[in-house]
Subunit: 478 residues, 2 copies
């Protein structure tokens, strides 16, 4: 059952209003990873709850407790739940999304203030969180707003679970979902399937429906020795320098061609057989697409299938940065006293944090021991999430594929995603229902990067897609 | 000729006033390495000139032009010159010092605001620049203030050269000194010797007189590839990551035991013979002194003489940090697009930036080439200074040693310093006169570090030392 023309027309006519709403959301710098912005994540939770209430959605905020961060106890932002519709004849879809964002400073290289949504002449809506994940979560709200304004009945019952800690490991949410799912009269009872819009198309042309995600284990290596930063003239050559040790240890993690050096990590993944290779061969993708998305000719493989498999079915290791060392412009002749190296590994089945973390921690400790340094090391897993693979032979996927064809007049690519949305697996495992990823943004949106954007057409057609998907779910014969 | 008791008594009686002056100077965050604080360096130059004028010193500010930093053209802070006394029967001493400071943020780990001089119960004056180098330069001003108030004649003619770019390679000053020294009627004509107070005692007990300094070459390795920061989930495994390449290259610079791996660098230094080893054996120093100064048991050698030679007569390499990578608290799953690794090498004769820089740059480029990365590298020397060694069999040193014995009742240690004050060599070479380093602060002052301090007694006795040195110079029969 296609979505009514009335709905589709309304979305087009009200595009500017929807963009204004996104602008208001982007203006709240809800950076979950930065304690200085924790209040803004709370502010964003309040914003979401207010929007939902105004649309007639019943809401509830869930206190998720506290976390320890950098020696401080911080309150966790609440999860914002919502429910609308209780018709036993309709299917019930649970929507998940997150209202927190990655850090962003204009000085990182943004062309505009990251927290002022800027509408470019080419139709790009530039701002932190535009694509990841404020645009998509507002897309769902736009669908309800359209139905409310038009006096249309929603084709399904909806449940919402929005969180504010996704960019920082979804701290506190897993426990809540598991315990709520265990209750017979819980907030998630009666949910038939889950839909999450928090990933991206492979390219800028073809919509995708996604059935797999890599997991993540994020590590911190702390090396310390002197009690305070030292002058490299006075002490250089006399003392073991934490930076030297950290660089030595981090150089043993991964080679420049992406090969993970930690014994046992790579070996867990069996080579792809011909049938599996064929899946990747079929995707609408090219090395030029990656080059365009990253803005440079730095793709390791020159083979598209090989590159896609590196992203979708193989683990990868990235070194993100160092806390405690000199990071500013210019020159500073310091020996930093305590440095924290940060890296993460993307995981694919059968890898899990449980089977990977011990390998990583013992390897890093062993490599440090080889240095014979008098400094001290501490290695820890900062946060993690298991990888996820879904069965695509299910009405939930059938509805998403039909909806994509209706809105975009195109067969979607069926993909596995390189990123992590750990909560996906939590829903799948806790609720025992099918989970679908139905992205709104394009492959070049620059999530987690400078100048993050969402194309206007993706926001508006994406809103139509989410609505149409609900109609296709409603039309499925069960 | 000892200094008059009147002078020494005045310094004791006016200690609080002198500390207040230091407090005013520390309050100006004159960080030369940070473009955002360039105005404060100008403010500090004005402060210095005003103080000198009030004491009857004839002053002149010298425009040193501009520099290019991070793609911007910045005005250089002026050198502040001063002269007082023109008696042809007296010796003329040129005093050099700097009024700029290293960067400092309370969040780096300072217990107090770095730009508010805080007087601790144990007598420590804590604040950025207290010891390096605002305390010492104000020490000279205190000496003149005492003479002016007491109506005493100064025992020598004085010339001053204060600069505001020492912590950033003394940009612009060398050219000025060389050209000014070449003029027969220049500001430095008639100078008999130079005295610089900008280093430290070896420990917290014994004053030192210093006759050598290591040089410095500061390098930046820029590795870039993607046009923007990337999401490690979406692109991890597909692209060459600049951080991985940078860590790989920087791991080839130095071993954790301090051995420089760049071919040719270490080999330039001949091993010490027995006679030279004996000099280091004689110094009042222990491994426990280093451990106390750094606040940790991280000294590479367990032999005092070996440790001292590492600092004074051998090169060292320190990795200071990375610009462009994630440096904040918490977690960020970014692939940084462009990272700048910063490291420096301390040089000893016969090493010079001229014979070292080409070895470093070609080695780093060669190590990067081995990685077979599609990213780009750029290696450059950011600033540098030659090492320096002085002849201690000279009246300038005799005066300093006598003055130290008079004030501290102790024979000073004769040392070479591990740090760099590139301008020292410029004065020696341009003026052709003896240059002396006569430090004020202790070995645990934490210059360039958090909680930098100058002990009250070092500031006050140090002021007496500088004054007494001038009397000993005045008494020398030439």
């Amino acid at each position: 059952m296609p979505a009514p023309d009335k709905f589709l027309g309304y979305v087009d006519e009200n595009a500017d209003k929807f963009i204004q709403l996104l602008k208001e959301a982007v203006a709240i710098p809800s950076i979950s990873g930065d304690p200085a912005h924790r209040e803004d994540v709370f502010k964003m939770a309040t914003f979401m709850e207010k929007q939902l209430k105004a649309l007639g959605v019943t809401t509830k905020t869930v206190d998720l407790g506290t976390e320890e961060l950098e020696g401080h106890t911080l309150k966790l932002p609440p999860a914002v739940l919502g429910r609308i519709g209780d018709d036993p004849k309709k299917k019930t879809i649970l929507i998940y999304g997150h209202f927190d964002v990655q850090p962003a400073n204009q000085s990182d290289g943004w062309d505009t203030d990251p927290f002022t949504l800027t509408i470019q002449e080419n139709g790009q809506l530039v701002g932190r969180g535009s694509s990841d994940d404020k645009g998509p979560i507002l897309g769902w709200l736009n669908v309800i707003e359209a139905h409310k304004s038009l006096g249309l009945e929603l084709p399904v019952n909806l449940r919402f679970c929005f969180e504010g800690m996704e960019e920082s490991g979804s701290v506190g949410l897993d426990e809540f979902i598991s315990s709520e799912a265990a209750k017979s009269d819980g907030w998630f009872s009666g949910v038939d399937a889950v839909c999450i819009s928090d990933n991206y198309w492979l390219n800028t042309r073809t919509p995708v429906v996604t059935y797999g995600l890599r997991g993540l284990s994020y590590f911190m290596i702390t090396i310390s020795g002197p009690a305070r930063d030292l002058h490299s003239g006075v002490f250089g050559g006399m003392v073991h320098e934490p930076m030297t040790d950290l660089i030595a240890v981090m150089s043993k993690l991964v080679t420049p061609d992406g090969t993970i050096l930690i014994p046992g990590v790579k070996d867990m993944i069996a080579a792809a057989d011909e049938k599996e290779v064929a899946i990747y061969d079929a995707l609408d993708y090219s090395i030029a697409d990656v080059e365009q998305a990253v803005g440079g000719q730095v793709v390791i493989s020159s083979d598209k299938t090989r590159a896609l498999m590196s992203r979708m079915r193989e683990p990868s290791l990235s070194i993100h940065g160092i806390e405690g060392a000199f990071y500013g412009a210019g020159a500073k002749t310091v020996i930093p006293a305590k440095v924290i190296g940060k890296f993460s590994i993307r995981l694919v089945p059968p890898q899990t944090p449980q089977n990977i973390d011990p390998l990583v921690i013992s390897y890093v400790e062993a490599e440090f021991a080889k240095l014979n340094s008098k400094n001290k090391i501490h290695v820890e897993n900062q946060h993690s999430g298991k990888p996820w693979l879904e069965d695509i032979d299910h009405w939930n996927y059938a509805a998403a594929i039909k909806a994509t064809e209706a809105v975009y007049k195109k067969q979607p690519d069926l993909t596995r995603e390189g990123g992590s949305i750990p909560v996906t697996l939590t829903f799948a495992e806790s609720l025992g229902v099918n989970v679908l990823l139905l992205p709104m943004g394009r492959g070049d949106d620059g999530a987690h990067s400078t100048n993050e954007k969402l194309d206007r057409s993706n926001y508006i057609e994406g809103t139509k897609l989410l609505g149409t998907y609900l109609y296709e779910v409603g039309a499925i014969a069960t």
